[in-house]
């Protein structure tokens, strides 16, 4: 496949986000939205679902407020929760058969709870997609693994009741292979992003990576590999090597700012990671659930100190010159990690530049301020 053609397809998929569902021809398959990392997409795929992300917000849908649901939304809710609820109430997600919410994602859980209650009270103007909770826990004890297995059985049973097929071993094996293939392609992207002589911009890598959230795994890995194969034709980028940590962000404006002051070589915010979770050692549904329950980057893991060390190690492996920290306006978790992360990075010889709170969609003035701040700090 031609590299430029692959890039065009990846960027189109990312730009349309969950919307290609209404234009794609294969309507026979049920479309299922996923909110948050950590959802066992293998099981959804094996049940015949076409999986798309619903957390990242398409630009045209980021300002459509719904009066009814907004009367229940406190301003301190996560931006992704607020926008999702508005999109749901506005009917922008009506093409989905179901939406699966990850317990591991704080924004997703609250979105699930509010959507469910709004629906229970009879406010909905149109039927919502089925609202399903992926309620898995982190840990390695037998009790946690039993619990997660039960959640997997329950999720499959809910999908089957919605008309999906009961996944058999062969379907699961095929889905795992596709999942692994996608993860390996994403690892290649991560490696390309942090290579000695990087050629990708942070924005390119961000778009290509997350385009996979709206494409079939097999199709995506082929497109991504084709896109990567052409990167040698791009000029080598020079400048300070940067890491990005903090709250989840899908702001392209933020990536443009980072690209203007350095080279993003380690994107470690939730939209910069390989999703939905680890793939190493996964051969069947049991090992899949075990691997997902031991995700070192999971924000609900049993030790934030372990997660902080995993982030600091990843920055060191990518040979970052500096790490940029940023938080959404209502952050209530990363702020606890930041001083320890700062210490862990300092011990590895990497300074941290804290951008502080940023808007969901920073405007031009905010971008200018961020750029000036970073330029000053980096000496770029």
């Amino acid at each position: 496949m031609d590299s430029s053609n692959a890039i065009t397809q990846l960027e189109a998929a990312f730009a349309h986000k969950a919307r290609p569902a209404v234009t794609e021809e294969a309507t026979a398959r049920p479309w299922v939205g996923c909110f948050g990392n950590g959802i066992p997409e293998v099981l959804l795929a094996a049940a015949g679902c076409r999986v798309v992300d619903v957390k990242s917000v398409p630009e045209p849908e980021s300002n459509d407020r719904h009066e009814g649901i907004n009367q229940f939304i406190e301003p301190f809710l996560d931006d992704y929760t607020q926008l999702f609820l508005n999109r749901l109430a506005n009917g922008w997600l009506n093409h989905l058969t179901a939406i699966v919410f990850s317990r591991q994602d704080a924004a997703a859980l609250v979105a699930y709870q509010y959507a469910l209650e709004y629906q229970r009270q009879g406010y909905t103007e149109h039927p919502f997609p089925a609202l399903l909770l992926w309620n898995a826990e982190q840990g390695s004890t037998a009790a946690v693994l039993r619990f997660n297995q039960h959640q997997a059985d329950k999720l499959v049973s809910q999908l089957v009741s919605l008309g999906d097929r009961q996944p058999d071993d062969a379907a699961i094996a095929t889905a795992i292979e596709h999942h692994r293939s996608r993860c390996l392609a994403l690892e290649e992207l991560t490696a390309a992003q942090c290579e000695q002589r990087p050629r990708l911009t942070g924005l390119d890598a961000f778009r290509w990576r997350n385009a996979g959230r709206y494409l079939e795994a097999e199709q995506f890995q082929a497109l991504l590999r084709a896109a990567l194969s052409g990167r040698e034709s791009k000029p080598v980028r020079t400048g300070k090597r940067l890491g990005l940590v903090g709250s989840a962000t899908d702001s392209e404006a933020l990536y443009r700012v980072l690209d203007s002051v350095g080279i993003l070589v380690a994107d470690l915010q939730p939209f910069g990671r390989i999703w939905p979770g680890p793939v190493e050692g996964v051969t069947d549904s049991d090992s899949l659930l075990q691997a997902m329950a031991r995700d070192p980057f999971c924000p609900r893991g049993h030790s934030s100190i372990d997660m902080i060390n995993a982030l600091a190690d990843a920055c060191a492996e990518a040979r970052c010159d500096a790490v940029i920290a940023q938080m959404d306006q209502n952050d209530d978790t990363f702020g606890w990690d930041l001083p320890s992360l700062q210490q862990a990075l300092t011990e590895r010889g990497i300074p941290v530049i804290n951008l502080g709170f940023r808007d969901f969609r920073p405007d031009e003035s905010a971008c200018t301020q961020m750029r000036e701040h970073l330029t000053l700090e980096l000496g770029a």
Binding site: F76, A106, L116, A136, T141, S303, D332
Partner: protein
């Protein structure tokens, strides 16, 4: 925590006794610790029962936070929090004790502060709990026992009607299985710390005693809901309920609950009222306003308006009574598995508050909504609408339970007074017509 603008209101003897007991208990604990005893530092929504039964004293995070705030130390610690690099929008209620610990000057803390605990315990009900307790563990070297907190996929609105006996249906077998297994894991860890074996028979009797204590609180709750006029202030309800809750199931806690009940009963029988001409009944929704508890009496003289309800007493019954159905450990799992969620998650919080407002004949609700404590603030607007649908006037108070920096008492009194004027005028009009 004293009231200032009182006239002839007579404080409850039981409230003073509870406060004195807790102060003496903390002093005694310090002496025990100096002599080499261990203690545990735990979150409010963890199974205190297991620590009690294993003979390991506990200090509760949220209680210690309220004490630090009541001693007017929160501003100092929150300034220190900023100097450590933590931003100002992080939750304060659950973290104030951590900041005091990181600050390190124990003499600044009440009663000489707390030494390092033998174990820390939290439940991952809110996403920041693991982080706060991980930092504490890192600081002190104490082991952290962290309970899983899977969400509730299909919450029944009328949880309080099911929770006492039909908890298996309400909370779900899978969640209870996980919670019960983790309770046994904690038991094993406590056996190692204390060197004592777990006694299942003793535990079953102890769980019965807790149910008895909560049944007494349920009696008080019913009496207060039905009393023609409110006989006690909520600032006295709270220590009379929460201090025994921190010692739940002990002989002292049961005796104190009975003494509290008897004192309330006498007051009702004697026709005692906080406001003899009570005309407006209010509820305080949310955690206590720990740095300014005298606010609860601010409208008695001006408007004959009394706070008749705070969550602590009714929740003692609805949140704690779990009949064991032959399995005390599983009953404990049922008590703990959604303890905090019942107070914050829709539809649980909105349904419960609306029901409570009807039972207490509430006219006005003051709803504390902390901007920077998302878990505590979530569900507030669903609750507001439910209360309004039940005929209650709701005043939103966007503030924090331990951070007084956001609190302007004079402005708040003015704001509430204006609403009370309207409510009183409407009630007077309704009476005339």
């Amino acid at each position: 925590m004293s009231d200032s603008n009182t006239t002839d209101y007579q404080p409850l003897a039981s409230a003073r006794l509870a406060t004195e007991y807790q102060r003496d208990w903390v002093r005694g604990l310090r002496e025990q610790i100096k002599a080499g005893s261990d203690f545990a530092f735990v979150n409010a929504d963890t199974p205190h029962e297991l620590f009690h039964i294993m003979g390991l004293p506990i200090v509760t995070n949220q209680w210690w936070s309220a004490v630090l705030s009541a001693k007017q130390l929160s501003e100092y610690y929150f300034d220190h929090m900023a100097s450590l690099g933590f931003h100002d929008r992080l939750a304060k209620y659950s973290s104030l004790p951590l900041i005091a610990e990181l600050e390190g000057d124990r003499e600044r803390q009440p009663w000489g502060g707390l030494p390092s605990p033998a174990i820390l315990c939290a439940r991952q009900s809110a996403d920041d709990h693991q982080r706060i307790f991980s930092l504490w563990a890192k600081q002190t070297g104490a082991p952290l026992f962290l309970f899983s907190a899977p969400a509730v996929p299909d919450p029944e609105p009328n949880w309080w009607e099911l929770a006492r006996r039909d908890w298996e249906t309400l909370y779900g077998t899978d969640r209870l299985d996980l919670m019960e297994a983790e309770l046994y894991q904690l038991v094993q860890q406590l056996e190692r710390i204390t060197g004592r074996p777990f006694d299942a028979g003793h535990f079953a009797r102890y769980m019965d005693a807790i149910n008895r204590q909560e049944e007494i609180f349920d009696e008080v709750h019913e009496m207060l809901a039905q009393a023609p006029r409110c006989p006690i202030r909520i600032s006295e309800q709270i220590p009379n309920v929460m201090i025994p809750q921190w010692h739940r199931g002990s002989d002292w806690a049961l005796q104190h609950a009975e003494a509290f009940r008897d004192e309330v009963k006498s007051r009702i029988e004697e026709g005692v009222a906080v406001c003899p001409d009570e005309s407006i009944r209010m509820m305080w929704v949310g955690a206590g306003l720990w740095f300014d508890t005298s606010f609860y009496a601010a409208f008695e003289e001006s408007h004959s308006a009394v706070f008749a309800w705070s969550m602590y007493l009714p929740f003692a019954a609805d949140g704690y009574i779990r009949y064991d159905q032959g399995d005390p450990m599983r009953a404990l799992a049922a008590r703990v598995v959604s303890m905090n969620e019942q107070l914050h998650q829709p539809p649980w919080v909105n349904s419960w508050l609306a029901d409570q407002a009807r039972r207490y004949r509430i006219d006005v609700a003051l709803m504390l909504i902390p901007r920077h404590d998302r878990f505590s603030g979530q569900g507030s607007l669903f609750a507001k609408h439910a209360l309004e649908a039940a005929g209650v006037t709701v005043i939103e108070i966007w503030s924090d339970m331990v951070d007084r920096r956001e609190w302007d008492r004079e402005a708040m009194v003015g704001r509430v007074a204006a609403v009370l004027d309207e409510v009183k005028a409407k009630k007077d009009f309704d009476v005339v017509n």
